[in-house]
């Protein structure tokens, strides 16, 4: 685990393009056509992503999503439904050869989430990895990740909760009605936290990104060298985008 990995510039894309870029990186990395890569990005418009095994009808209120202009997309990674607030979340992706991370799934989450833990430390927050796929501060979730392994490479992407709008999340995600009580929402505030809440101020996206870049370089033991998406990557991503935007993919389960 040494050497140089590519660091892509911050991007802001819609949900379908972002998912397409992540799959492109995974596929072309596996084919040896693109280097191990770290990137940070945001969602525009805000979106809900569901895990690859979830039923969209059971998890998301599509009427509410339409009302707010929120995109809904199925990921290629497992895990749960997430509301990605344009103004409140920084998202990361790490793509590398499988040999760069431990075979054991939880250990590999721990290694990559270690980048986040160090990044939060740089922001002044004491964070810890919480298996399988979360990072916590003061016992509350501040980041969730999901990983897939295909064709010999690994993709892990996840959230850094800076200041998401939790009430909007409850409108969009189908939680049984009795749970959407003030008491339930209070209990969520006891289990989930944000960078803004923990720091007592809202840092800029750039400040958080810079902290996480340093964190990943340390945790992975690599040098992150700035680079761009290649033409081949961009073209494949543009092609894959239509799959993610399709009703067939969204309603797969």
């Amino acid at each position: 685990m040494a050497g140089e990995w590519r660091m892509l510039p911050m991007r802001i894309d819609d949900a379908f393009m972002s998912m397409a870029i992540d799959e492109t990186l995974l596929k072309l990395n596996a084919e040896g056509k693109t280097p191990n890569t770290v990137r940070f990005w945001r969602w525009l418009p805000s979106a809900v992503s569901i895990g690859c095994f979830q039923s969209v009808e059971r998890e998301v209120d599509l009427g509410v999503a339409k009302k707010y202009g929120v995109d809904v997309v199925r990921r290629i990674t497992g895990g749960g439904a997430v509301f990605h607030d344009h103004d409140g979340e920084l998202t990361y992706s790490v793509v590398c050869k499988q040999g760069e991370v431990p075979d054991d799934i939880i250990e590999s989450y721990k290694l990559i989430c270690g980048g986040l833990v160090r990044g939060f430390a740089q922001l002044g927050l004491r964070a810890e990895f919480k298996p399988v796929n979360d990072v916590q501060v003061n016992g509350k979730k501040i980041s969730g990740s999901a990983q897939t392994r295909r064709w010999g490479s690994v993709l892990q992407h996840g959230t850094v909760l800076i200041s998401p709008e939790v009430r909007r999340m409850f409108e969009l995600l189908k939680v049984s009605p009795e749970k959407i009580s003030d008491k339930f929402i209070t209990s969520v505030f006891e289990r989930v936290t944000t960078v803004e809440r923990e720091l007592g101020r809202k840092p800029s996206f750039e400040e958080v990104r810079a902290a996480m870049v340093g964190g990943f370089a340390d945790a992975l033991g690599v040098e992150l060298v700035e680079g761009e998406l290649s033409r081949e990557e961009f073209e494949l991503a543009a092609e894959l985008r239509s799959k993610y935007a399709s009703q067939e993919w969204l309603r797969k389960r």
Binding site: R58, I76, N133
Partner: protein, 91 residues
């Protein structure tokens, strides 16, 4: 259509199924668990088709799925699938 949910240590397993003569004639699994590789979930559904909806037969089918595919489901084990399916079958 019978339906039930079961909360495993990591993730909620959601089961929709139909029974014919006490055996599973159709089953659809969903939820927020992790499974590696992801396409193994369809093989689990296939492995359950035709299986009698009682604990021992289900457990044998699910264990057979794990050993034949090598699939990994962190913090979710054969007994959790069986519990979810029994709930749906009984409901």
């Amino acid at each position: 259509m019978r339906y039930a949910e079961f909360k495993a240590p990591k993730g909620v397993i959601k089961v929709e199924l139909e029974l014919t003569d006490d055996a599973i004639s159709r089953i659809s699994l969903s939820g927020d668990f992790f499974m590696y590789p992801e396409d193994a979930l369809e093989r689990l559904e296939q492995a359950l088709a035709g299986v009698k909806a009682e604990r021992e037969s289900l457990l044998a089918a699910v264990q057979g799925f794990y050993s034949s595919t090598g699939a990994q489901t962190p913090m979710v084990g054969p007994e959790h699938w069986v519990e979810a399916i029994l709930r749906a079958a009984g409901g």
